[in-house]
Every structure is written in structure tokens, then in C-alpha cells.
Symmetry: C2
Subunit: 542 residues, 2 copies
């Protein structure tokens, strides 16, 4: 067989040639700007030529600090296909984290959206390796970035059409993304061309996202977060048009974008879908163009799925993964051969192991059965799973070649993963595990509850006990006693928390997940406010 490398270059060539007429649509809040794949590809060629002229060579890191838009996509194509490494910077990182990751990756260039220049300028002087900032759009604050500030459009305008894309090794680095761990500094995951290619093809499989040319892909999940779940590459490979919301992520703007551009497929974290749902409760929103809405990055509350189905006839499909898994690890399409009333019990699981990923469930060194009952840590391996971090082998994260996901849960006979907790969020009470995720899902099914997060607190008698942090809906009222009663008929009696805090918001991480680390810190420092306590629970039944 021919020794053809699996590279982003192959994806770029295929989309450019075969799907020249497919569209890249960037939302401007009220209207859209458009380019065909052929036009976008021609601009990517110029970007590659401009970076080459700036001295960027194979293996050099090029950062992006940007929203989801056409120029970011051009960087997605040009940087890796020219042999450099695309380093997508999370715009929501704290300044010290941002400084750390740019310096750690040794980014030589950062491409920055005009609207984000001020944010980046705060740390610009600390970015030791950055030689040039390339600003996309007009920004009066650009001088704040330092001396070498270049304009994106000027650079492209100076280049002749065409670029001789190199032939790359499929194992060469293509992109990197830092994941903010719970302890210590962020860790960099380095995606290879091979892993990115295989992951994109994985998304194109009919039992996954199933991209085709007939699709219009609304990528809400940020391009700075695990490569927007790989959707840009999968869409490009199959000619699915790309709809990019830029910075207009508020429910109203997003709803308008959806109505105007009629996406068929979309991916976002639960928070985004939750906000869109709330908006649709008071405004007319037409979501009928969507055929598949993938939701991941955090457990999807079943009530969210039910409400979308009731109100919009829209099926949310849950997926599971992490930065280290590119991110697709599992996707919860209901299996074949079940009754319609069983579907929801599968769709509310975290996902079914994707083709290309292997999973196992471990209790220390012991592999547990796929019986839907045995609880252990999920470990995965596969050609698009990280085997280490940039400059850090992190042996504690790996186990005989398998990635320790840090997710605790079960696997059933059909390969469905059900997560019950992050290993760091686990509540072990009287020697038994309590699932914070299940408690949160049940609580969020209560009409008065907008959001709920359950954390572990130390307990003299039971070692650990759950504390429920609840955000009530505007205008709604519910006491902790009511909520306890609500839970008591839904979960085991000894799971029901006796400690309750009503808070204004659940803190979120830079990628929109509940930040339980912050919640735990707030509890310790007394910042959570009044904590209602009731009688201790009965002992767990063994």
C-alpha cells in the first residue's frame, strides 16, 4: 500500500478541490460575512506565505487568541499545513495562566482578534518568546501589545497567490491545547497530524456526528477549546459549511444566527444550550433546521434534553471527551433494538465508546466488568488520545499505555459510559460512593432550580458528605427542606444532602464547566454564605 501520510494537508486539499463551493459564514451580530472553501483556502495559502516570510519554520508554535471566525479557520488550515504548530489560546485563562502557556509553548507569533487585543495587552510584556502580534481587524489598542504589531490583512495582501505546502510526517505536531488541571500549571496536549486526521474522520462516521456536504455546522464550542471538538476539520473534509458565531454567543444573537443561517448540526457545552432554552421560553426561536445537537464538556442534565425535545422537537445527543482525547471519546446515540421508552435511559448516559477509542474501567489494577454497575475509573487509549504532555510525561496520568481520565463511572454491556463523578469531585460517604452528578441532575429537574452543584465536605462520622449549592430561577422560591423532600423519593435516602447553600451563581471554569474547586475554596473561606444544616442521614444500606 502507498505510504500516504494522514495529515491536515490531505484534509485541506480534499475540501478545497472537491467542495470548493461550500461556505464559511462568520456572524457579525446582525448579518454574516461569507467566503467559499476555495476563497478561504486561497487566503490560508497567503497566511502560510506570510508566516514563512516572518521566519516561521516547521515545528514553530503560532498562537491564536481569537473567537470562532473565518480568520481563525484560516489559521487552523495554514499553520499546521505549513508545518508549524497551531497553539489555540484560551481567551478565558487568568493572566498568569495565559502568560505561562505562551511562554511554555514558546509561541513565536500570536494572531489576535481586534476585540481581544486589550485582554492580551495586559500580559503582552511578559510573553518572552513572542516576536510578532498579528491583529485581525482594527484595534486602537494595538500599540499596547508592544513593538511588532502587524495587521493580518496587510500581511495577506502582500503575498502572491499560491503556497507550496510541504509534505509532512503524519506524526509531526499539528496543534496544541493546554488543559487547566486542578493542581499545578496547565498541561499542554500536542495533537499530531495523524491524530487530528483520524479524529476528524471519526466525527464524519455516520454513528458519530456524521458530517456531509448537506450539513451546515454551527461551531459554538470555542476553537480555542480542544479544536472546537475537531468540527472545523471534519466539516472541511466533507464539505459541510461552517457557521462561526464570532463573539456573538449571547442567546439572543445566537438564536438570530441560527434562524438566519439554518445550521443542521451544532456542538456546545450544556450552559450554552441552557441559556438558549431559557431565551426560547420568552421569545420565538426557530431551531427546526438542526438535525443533531451535540452537547458535551460537562454532564448534560436530562431535564435539558427533555425540555428541548418537548419545546423544539430537538434531540440533544450527549458526548463525552476531554482535551486529552481530541476530544471525542464517546457519543450517546441510542443503541439498536431497544424500545422507544428505553431511549432516554441510554441518551442520558455520558456516551457510547466511539470507534477508534478503547475504554476500560479500573479499580486500581483490577479491570471491572462492563455491567453498568461496577464503579471505577475510566481509562482510554487510541490513536487520538494523548500519551503525555508537552515537556511533561506526567506518568501519574497514564497506566500501562492507557490514559487515566480522572472520570469515575460505569461501563455497560453495550459500551455506554456513565460517569458519576470526576475522581477529584467524588464523595465517599461511609465507605460508599455518592454521585454528585446524579444529585445535580435530579436537583436541576426541580422547577425552581436553575443550576445546582454538589461538592464533598468533610464529615466527622461519615468522612465525607455532600453539600448542595443551588441557584434558584429568577422569581422562584424553594427551601432546602422542600428540595430535600424532592430528592428523597428520587435517590437513596442516605444520599440526600443535609447541607445546603443558596448561591447567586455556580462558578465556571474557562471552558464553561462547574468549577467545584472554586466552590470548595469558597466553602472553606466562608464565602458560600449561610449553610443550612439538617439532621444527619441514616447509615447507607449495604
Amino acid at each position: 500500500m502507498q505510504d500516504r501520510p494522514l495529515t491536515i494537508n490531505a484534509i485541506l486539499r480534499h475540501g478545497t478541490k472537491v467542495y470548493a463551493g461550500s461556505e464559511v459564514v462568520t456572524w457579525t451580530g446582525e448579518s454574516a460575512r461569507r467566503a467559499t472553501f476555495a476563497e478561504t483556502s486561497a487566503r490560508a495559502e497567503k497566511l502560510a506565505a506570510a508566516l514563512r516570510r516572518l521566519g516561521i519554520r516547521e515545528g514553530d508554535r503560532v498562537g491564536t487568541f481569537a473567537w470562532n471566525n473565518q480568520e481563525h479557520l484560516e489559521a487552523y488550515l495554514a499553520v499546521p499545513a505549513s508545518g508549524a504548530v497551531l497553539h489555540t489560546l484560551n481567551i478565558r485563562l487568568f493572566p498568569e495562566q495565559l502568560t505561562y502557556v505562551v511562554n511554555h509553548a514558546e509561541d513565536r507569533v500570536v494572531i489576535v482578534d481586534a476585540s481581544l487585543v486589550s485582554l492580551l495587552a495586559r500580559v503582552a510584556k511578559d510573553l518572552r518568546t513572542v516576536e510578532h502580534f498579528i491583529v485581525v481587524g482594527e484595534s486602537e489598542a494595538a500599540s499596547g501589545l508592544g513593538n511588532s504589531v502587524l495587521r493580518y490583512e496587510d500581511l495577506l495582501a502582500a503575498e502572491a497567490p499560491g503556497f507550496a505546502w510541504p509534505e509532512l510526517d503524519e506524526r509531526a505536531a499539528a496543534a496544541m491545547c493546554y488543559t487547566s488541571g486542578t493542581t499545578g500549571n496547565p498541561k499542554g496536549v500536542v495533537y499530531s497530524h495523524r491524530s487530528t486526521y483520524l479524529h476528524a474522520v471519526g466525527l464524519c462516521m455516520a454513528n458519530s456526528f456524521g458530517f456531509t456536504e448537506h450539513d451546515r455546522t454551527l461551531a459554538v464550542v470555542p476553537m480555542f477549546h480542544a479544536n472546537a471538538w475537531g468540527m472545523p476539520y471534519a466539516a472541511w473534509f466533507t464539505g459541510a459549511s461552517l457557521l462561526l458565531p464570532d463573539r456573538f454567543l449571547q442567546a439572543e444573537r445566537l438564536a438570530r444566527f441560527i434562524e438566519t443561517e439554518r445550521p443542521t448540526i451544532s456542538g456546545a457545552v450544556p450552559t450554552v444550550w441552557n441559556e438558549l432554552l431559557r431565551y426560547s421560553e420568552t421569545h420565538e426561536v426557530d431551531l427546526s433546521s438542526l438535525r443533531i445537537v451535540v452537547c458535551g464538556g460537562a454532564a448534560v442534565p436530562p431535564t435539558l434534553m427533555r425540555r428541548y425535545e418537548e419545546r423544539h422537537g430537538l434531540r440533544i445527543i450527549q458526548a463525552w471527551g476531554m482535551t486529552e482525547t481530541s476530544p471525542l471519546g464517546a457519543i450517546a446515540h441510542p443503541p439498536h433494538g431497544i424500545q422507544p421508552d428505553e431511549e432516554m435511559s441510554y441518551r442520558t448516559k455520558s456516551g457510547r465508546v466511539a470507534a477508534g477509542i478503547e475504554a476500560r474501567i479500573m479499580d486500581g489494577e483490577r479491570e471491572l466488568p462492563w455491567d453498568g454497575a461496577a464503579v471505577g475509573e475510566i481509562e482510554v487509549r487510541g490513536a487520538w488520545v494523548a500519551g503525555g504532555y508537552y515537556g511533561d510525561d506526567a506518568p501519574e496520568k497514564f497506566h500501562d499505555g492507557w490514559l487515566r481520565t480522572g472520570d469515575i463511572g460505569t461501563l455497560d454491556a453495550k459500551g455506554f459510559i456513565q460517569l458519576t463523578d470526576r475522581s477529584k469531585d467524588v464523595i465517599k460517604s461511609g465507605g460508599e460512593w455518592i454521585s454528585s452528578v446524579e444529585l445535580e441532575n435530579e436537583l436541576m429537574a426541580h422547577a425552581a432550580v436553575l443550576e445546582a452543584a454538589v461538592i464533598s465536605v468533610p464529615d466527622e462520622r461519615w468522612d465525607e458528605r455532600p453539600l448542595a449549592c443551588v441557584v434558584l430561577r429568577e422569581g422562584a422560591g424553594a427551601t432546602h427542606e422542600e428540595l430535600r423532600e424532592f430528592l428523597s423519593i428520587r435517590v437513596a435516602k442516605w444520599w440526600v444532602p443535609e447541607r445546603w447553600a443558596f448561591v447567586a451563581e455556580i462558578p465556571k471554569t474557562s471552558v464553561g464547566k462547574f468549577d467545584k474547586k472554586v466552590l470548595r475554596a469558597r466553602r472553606e473561606s466562608g464565602e458560600l454564605g449561610t449553610i443550612h444544616e439538617t439532621a444527619p442521614p441514616p447509615p447507607p444500606k449495604r
Copy 2:
């Protein structure tokens, strides 16, 4: 990223674990025998153990001489996953070709269906490297194979459950298939684990065959022919049940199988669909379960597509490929954004270049534009395209790393290939090309014509001219003058053949394609019968 190999072992593990309950159904002519993926996998383990016990080691060749059935599938899994090489023998080869390929590949074992024992026995004594014949089922003729004849079920029964599958290099050989060239001996294509894996995933893409667990896959195309188009592996990877017709390929038996087992997806050469259509014209046949019917291996007559659509509401999707391309090269799903009445003009093309395959169109050293007009040889490359043959680099078949397909045609702006001829079948008349395929398609649209093949004959004035060989439908009559008139309003005047032969059948190759080599030989030896001649044509318009 983890260095996980892309192997059939990974496919085997995934299907076995995640889709344990999917089915393998083998037709027995009247009813079906069934096994789950879990059961089939357990038997594959025993087969691997038995082969190991017989002394088969990594890299050794194991032949199969078999229909499409469960045991053949077991060999598809066990042989490559154990590190040996599956050599699928074409049961329709002439004895001397069969002998040649077994000896050339140095098969150490051949697994043979009881119903095919007599066919194999004719050459058994000439198979120099075969140490054991393993007979599937009961055959009284088995002793004709020689001394070491083993029974498949006995071998499996002797093994304990479980087999320690090795970790294989993804570039190791997994399977081989000989392609009978037009000249010289057959040439062996060696598929690697990597190419087989990537090809299977290619078939699972939503814009390709799009296998999912909800599918039931009727693999009519023989498992001895380009790995049944890779469908067994794609189906296994996604949990799509496999329906295997064994030797019951006659239209009536096949129709019964379809009605009973309700496939959703199927692949076969045009001849099979043609016979099934004819059968359905006089019998009630329910084909409503099929969602996609892929047809390839030879140009699909548009009339065949139209008649299926009219009579059965069934869409035939044309695909193009060859043994050297694993075989998926292109598939003719209609593109996005066209009018319904334009669909047929795309669906009748040979196919749109598949993701994972790159194509170009060459006139010698000059690359021609993708304009749907420029005619040249199609060249392809990709990770599942052959880069040589077993024991034969065949440099004449390659061009700067691209495979010369030997197919002549055009490529359009959307990546659709339209073949006009095999390079060896090309008719160049007065310096201009005449497409034999187009003439054949037009002729087969005539109500009286069952099959038509057009070959080139030498001509004093025009160098070459077309000769039409026509098989009339039973009871139908048409003169060559009528057919000339029929053609004259459908193709350029100078394309209309002035030489006509009415024959009882068009000879077919071992894989069911029109064998024009035989037709040309018959013409030269005068075996075609009367050749009707009319006046020479007008000169081509330039």
C-alpha cells in the same frame, strides 16, 4: 499522542465488545443460520488457535476458497488478527490462474467450502506450498484434495476458548487479493492492517456507505473480490449486522433472502442488480428495507438506476474503485445545492472522489483541469491505494507515486469522475475518442437490448471504429438498422457504429465484468458470427 496501531485487531475488539449482540446471518437457500458478533468472535479465537497449532505464524498466507458466509467471516477476522495474511481466492479463476496465485502467494493452508471442494480438487496436486486443506461443512469429495484434509468444526472443537491476539504493526500485511490483468499473470495486491482499517472507516463515513448499528448489510459482492468492498470490516466496526448469501446468488434465492432478513444496505455488481430487476418484473419482490444500494465494479447503466427507482423506489448509488484501491475510490452521492432534475446527471457519473483518496487526470505528463470535459487517464493516491504488487513493483502502473488506474475519463469541478473507457478499451477514431461505455449505456436503454458491449476494431480510414455486440432480450427483436437509428439521435453521428454483431451473451470476467478481451479475440477468430456492416460514418466534427 499515543502510538496506537490501526489494525484489524482494533476493529475486531471494538465490534466484539461494543456490538456483541449484532448478528451474522448466513443464508441456506430457504432459511438462515445466525450467530451474534460475540459468538462469531469466540469462534474466530478458536480458528486462530487452530491455525497457530497447525504451525501458521505471523506473515504466513492462509487461503480461502469460499462463498460469503459466517466461516469466511471468521477467517476474515482470525487470519489477519493473528498476524497471518488472508488470501481470498477467486473461485471463478481458470484452473491455471488459480494454481498460479496459490503458488505465487505460497499459501500454507487453504480453507475451502464443502460445496467448492471438487472445484479446488482439480488443481490440488499442483498447489506446491499448501500443507493443509480445511473443509467447512461435509464433502464426500474431500479426499480428492490429497492427504492433509482437516475438518473446520473438528479443529475449532479441539480448542479452548480465548486466544491471545498479538499486537501487530499497522503496516504488516493483513490480506491479499490477486487481480487478473489483461496481459500476463495475475498480480497480487497486498492490503496492510493500516489500509484495511482506514478503508473501513472510509466506508463508515456518512457521505460514503455510512454504516451504523441500525444497518443490516447484505454483502452480495463476493468476499473473494476486493474483500467484499471492505463491507465486512466496516459493518463489524459499527455493529451493522451482516447478511451473507452463501452460494445462493440466483435472483429468486436472493429475493427471498432480502424479504426475510430485510437488509438496509447492500453492494453488488450491476449484473446482480440487473438479474434481480428482471426477476422482479415477473415476481413480487419486496425490496423496501433497503436504504442504500451501492453498485460498482462496472459502469452502471442509467436505465438500470431508473428502473429500480420507478419500480421499487430504490436509489442505486454508483461507486468506482478497483482491487488496487481496496476498492473504494469514488461514490456518486448527488452533491449539495442542485435541483432535483439535475440529480441523475450526477448519479450516473462514476463517483465523487472519496475522502481519503486523491485523484488527478493526466494526459501523459500534463495534469488536466477538473472541468468535466478534458479526457485523460485517472490517477489516484491514498493510504488505501496499492503502491506495488506482491513480488512485482510494476513501475508501469505507477506515476510519481500515483496509481495509473487504466481508466479514461473526466473529472468535474465537484470532484465527480466520469469514466469513458478502460485505457485498453479506448476507441480512438480519426484522432478523436469515442466512449464505449456511453454507447453501451445508450444501447442498454433500448427496450429490446439486454446487454451491449462495444469494442474497438481496426479501420483503414479512421484507425479504429466501434463494433457493437448486442444481446437481445428474450422474445424481443431489433435490427442493427433500428439500433443505429436509436443511437443516432442520442450520440454524435460519427460515434454510431457501422459494425454490429448479435450474440447470445457478453463474456464476463471472473468478477462479472464485460470481458472485452475475449470479445476482441472472438472477433479476430471469427467466432462472433455475422457482423453486419453499413456505410462508413461522416468525419468527426472538430
